[in-house]
Amino acid sequence: MAAEPQSQAMSEPLLKVTGVTKRFGGFTALEQVDLSVARGERLGLIGPNGSGKSTLVNCISGTLRNEEGSIRFAGHDLGREPPHRRVRLGLARSFQIPKPFGSMSVLDNLRIPLLYAARKHGKLGPGQIVDEAMNVLRQVGLQDKAHAMSGGLTQVDMRKLELARAVAARPALLISDEAMAGLSASEVDDMLALLLTLKERGVAVIMIEHVMRAVMKFSDRIAVLVAGRKIADGDPQSIVNNAEVVTAYLGE
């Protein structure tokens, strides 16, 4: 599972979000948000409900169009690129509410990104696709359910599948949108373990999470969104001690 070729410009961060603004009618969901992620970096993105975290993810992955600002990824201006092109460039995401391909088996769910997105990194034979899919399933602990229909999975397994499908796209940057909500402590540890193995392959991760234990353990850096604005961005310790963050996020 190679990341993007190393030959790409190293001077620029992998992801560079500059002045992104998104409005829904009169409501400003994101206002002048800047964010950057370096290759292999682990960024935690936190904020209260409705602060714009998912909207930002949607703008980065292309399922929403931002009205202002620019998003650059791996040397490309994502401007008007449709989401499937962004995945092929190496920008994969998981969904907060799992969206499995319900008529397919768990294994077939992973075939889709392997056929359509991972192809960019060299064409895979049918045997390789199954091998690779099983590999990813083992990492999330779904190998025994490879042939089960994904529509009938439990919520927990659907979240694992959601993450597995994003990993199967062989991303250089993976955005995990609340993959751990509702999971037990040991399942959170499993998911963290998976996300940490990505680090070894040089995959950058943006983790959106409410499980603070996980965010603190995982992140090199944390950014905080409140009401569509980024109010803090720094190493985990400084975020915890930031008075503004504590007020906005944890309450007075």
């Binding site: 399922t63 989401p83 969206k99 391909f101 077939d108 889709i112 990104p113 359509y116 991972a118």
Partner: protein
């Protein structure tokens, strides 16, 4: 089975079907078989967009009629031979399909279905008012006097053509289903946003699916004017084409190429039998009753029911 093997087997069966019916002298058998085969093409074509991709098309009659009226137009203006008529009608209906594919950019679900229904009404009105192709009066098309390939009558040739069209439609549908395109279409059907975010170029695949689906439906209509010798808008745009192309895959199963085939043979045959033994007025009633029965009792059709049964057997120790 590999695609090529499947194609060889299918066309071998088709040729055997053509050869076998040369022994039959009763013309009714041909016309009944022609109708059932026509529904195999329509159901198979509908299923590429409706079943594989998940976009319900209520305007099948429009595509079918576009094929038929392309034949009427070209027969009158250029006197083209049969293969050219079929090819042109298929292409024109394919282009209409491409146009409908662009509708999927803004519409899905019920809205898409209603838009395709509206398309059929618009085209119907257009044809009714187009005098060159006969308008509301309809147009007569004379079957050529000489019948090629030693067929005893022209209806035999049309029957043989329809057998080959059905074989062609099945081979195309199965090839799409088994390819990476088929998997992409299934992903779109299950969740379009998730498909796009897994790297599937959803718009391109939807345009492809709508074009192929429309082209095959139009192909089924190209021989209608010659078969009837007379075509008028209410016949070409008949509601029964739209209803049957949805009902047959639904009853047979929409996930694979086999479902529409089973549904078309079953429903098509039942309709033919009812038409002879009871009355033609009861046709759509029968379709309606079967549809309600299947939607409530076996929502995944006969194939879905068979799959469930097989799975329950294989899980038993």
């Amino acid at each position: 089975m590999r695609n090529r093997t499947f194609a060889v087997v299918t066309f071998a069966i088709a040729i055997a079907l053509i050869a076998a019916t040369r022994l039959i002298t009763n013309d009714y058998v041909f016309s009944a078989a022609y109708t059932v085969l026509q529904f195999i093409v329509l159901a198979t074509a509908w299923n590429i967009l409706g079943g594989y991709t998940g976009y319900v098309n209520f305007g099948s009659a429009a595509f079918f009629a576009v094929g038929a009226y392309t034949t009427v137009f070209l027969n009158k203006s250029l006197h083209l031979p049969l293969p050219a008529l079929i090819a042109t009608g298929t292409i024109v209906a394919g282009l209409l399909g491409l146009g409908v594919g662009y509708l999927t950019l803004r519409m899905r679900g019920v809205y898409f279905a209603i838009a395709t229904l509206a398309l059929a009404v618009v085209l119907f009105t257009f044809v009714v008012n187009w005098d060159y192709v006969g308008g509301a009066r309809g147009a007569y098309i004379l079957q050529p006097r000489e019948v090629p390939f030693g067929f005893p009558r022209y209806v035999h040739l049309l029957y043989a053509t329809m057998v080959l069209m059905a074989a062609f439609a099945l081979v195309v549908a199965r090839a799409i289903e088994r390819s990476f395109i088929g998997r992409g279409l299934a992903a779109i059907r299950d969740d379009e946003v998730a498909a796009e975010c897994a790297g599937v170029p959803t718009l391109r695949l939807k345009l492809f699916s709508a074009t192929v689906s429309g082209a095959l439906m139009g192909m089924a209509g190209t021989t209608l004017p010659l078969y009837l010798s007379y075509v008028e808008p209410t016949a070409a745009f008949n509601l029964s084409y739209a209803v049957n192309s949805i009902a047959m895959p639904l009853i047979g199963g929409m996930m694979t190429w086999l479902g529409p085939l089973i549904g078309a043979v079953l429903l098509g045959t039942v309709q033919q039998v009812v038409q002879v033994t009871v009355s033609s007025e009861w046709n759509l009633f029968i379709v309606g009753v079967l549809l309600v029965a299947f939607v409530t009792l076996a929502p995944n059709g006969i194939m879905g029911w068979v799959d469930a049964w097989r799975r329950s057997r294989s899980h038993r120790p």
